[in-house]
């Protein structure tokens, strides 16, 4: 699989703030990548640089093998749907769709019209008069129907209800299966998208904490609980992310290379082993590096090492 995006040592500094701190990664073609992280982690900044809208302070960025800045060939193959997108105030919903049809070479009008029905968008309504959820839905329709070989969704569903979000996931997955393309999905609703995401990038305060296959990650982080000594023995090879102790028992979230044999090993030691959800993993990894997190009595956090 070839890389659609290659980033090397990318840094972005605003006045006194380092939004991106020397990150490097590459994203494979025709997969769904989850770009996760807390508010202010640098997700939007990263996508703005990848789409040529903002400028990097230093480092290299390559999209489809070229630099995206003012590169028509690259830009025409990308679609970037962001929560903060503004529209000219004289446009109606139909006008926005017509504009998108003009610009995107792979635009599918029939699919767009179907999505408009699904999200119950009022075609004749001025964009200024759309609710927050409807604006989000409009962005989603544009992003999906563009069928761009590289599509970015940055928090695409602010204000959307659970049903509409499910519609988004369903249509994204169905259309992705039929028309494979590279999708980068940035979101806070990690649990909702954990089945969708094939590859995870986790940003924390401008640094890359994770760059891993979702499948591999699921087995990598586990929560084990039982007698302190047995837990210690089990977790010897891993990196401790979170620990909660009560009396003689400990509940430990640990990251390591736990193969299929781990389940048997845990049972033999008399321990309970749970695979952590993607959301747990993200929370644990993000807070493990966050010294401002209050540590309750008996709970210790340890710096994670990538």
């Amino acid at each position: 699989m070839s890389a659609v995006i290659a980033v090397t040592d990318l840094t972005k500094r605003y006045r006194g703030v380092t939004a991106l701190d020397g990150i490097s990664f590459s994203l494979a073609e025709n997969r769904i990548h989850g770009l996760l992280g807390r508010n202010g982690a640098g997700k939007t900044t990263l996508m703005q640089i990848l789409t040529g809208q903002h400028f990097a302070t230093s480092g290299q960025v390559s999209v489809f093998g070229q630099h995206p800045y003012e590169n028509e060939q690259v830009l025409a193959r990308m679609s970037f749907i962001k929560e903060s997108q503004t529209y000219p105030t004289n446009l109606r919903v139909t006008h926005v769709l017509r504009a998108a049809r003009l610009v995107y070479p792979s635009w599918n009008e029939e699919f767009a019209q179907r999505l408009v029905e699904v999200f119950q968008l009022p075609r004749g309504r001025n964009v200024r008069k759309l609710s927050r959820g409807m604006l989000s839905a409009l962005g989603i329709v544009v992003g999906l129907a563009s069928r761009a070989p590289l599509t970015f969704f940055d928090e695409p569903y602010l204000g959307l209800d659970a049903v509409a979000r499910q519609h988004f996931y369903d249509h994204l997955l169905a259309d992705y299966t039929e028309h494979p393309r590279t999708i980068v999905l940035s979101t806070h609703l990690i649990d909702e998208v954990s089945d969708l995401i094939e590859h995870v990038l986790l940003l924390d305060r401008g640094r890359l904490l994770l760059d891993v296959e979702a499948e591999a990650l699921r087995g990598q982080v586990v929560t084990v609980s039982g007698p302190v000594a047995a837990v210690q023995e089990f977790a010897r090879t891993g990196t401790e992310l979170h620990r909660a102790s009560l009396g003689g028992t400990t509940r430990l979230t640990v990251r390591g290379d736990f193969g299929p044999a781990a389940q048997d090993r845990a049972r033999a030691l008399g321990l309970v082993l749970e695979a952590s959800s993607l959301q747990d993993i993200v929370v644990r990894l993000s807070t493990a590096t966050d010294s401002s997190t209050p540590t309750p009595a008996g709970v210790t956090s340890e710096e994670t090492i990538r």
Binding site: E70, T86, H95, L102
Partner: protein, 231 residues
Amino acid sequence: MNRTLIVARLQFVAWCSVVGWPWGILMLSFLINVALFSTIGDSEDFEPRTGGLVSIYIVMFIASINAITQDFPFALGLGVSRRSFYLGNVLNYAGQAISYAAVLYLLAVIEEATDGWGVNLLFFGLPFLVVDNPVLRFLSFALPFLLLGFVGIAIALVFKRWGVNGMLTLSTTALAGLGGLVVLANWRGWWSVIGGWLADQPGWALLVGWPALLTLPLAGISYLIIRRATP
């Protein structure tokens, strides 16, 4: 080139409002003037003059500011390059300036032929700054459109790129510069010379020549600013 054309078309997706506002306001102003002057002023030598024609230029000026504050973030969000957006905008303005100037010229000719719409009204023609050459007369309608369009683009781009501080710097500089010139002119007693120079300028120079000379550097500067502007 292809993407440039797309941008020009992009700005016309809601063509009703794009064409409707400038012409709607101009026509309303015109109709009010005709109605007003047909109810008053019966004397033969009364030739009412209005500044109503200016309204269409003002609307175009505002539209050019909106192009940067609203269309620019939208177009870049759709994956249009800054270069394509800029060139598409230029194409759009040139097209509007040419077609609008043609219509205004035609209306001015009709105005003359009908003795000012039957009420001696001078609405589309200019009371001073007479331009006889038909080509120059056409351009004297078109060039002010381009000048105002690029002034609007340049000002809005300063705001887009440098924010409120940029606008304050720009207006402070402009104020200091113009104020300084006025003081200088007062001190040296240049006003009669300046007035004489202006009066000596032929109509086409003030409506075509100077606007063209100002438009070109503004267009160049705007292109340089937009290349590093963020939506």
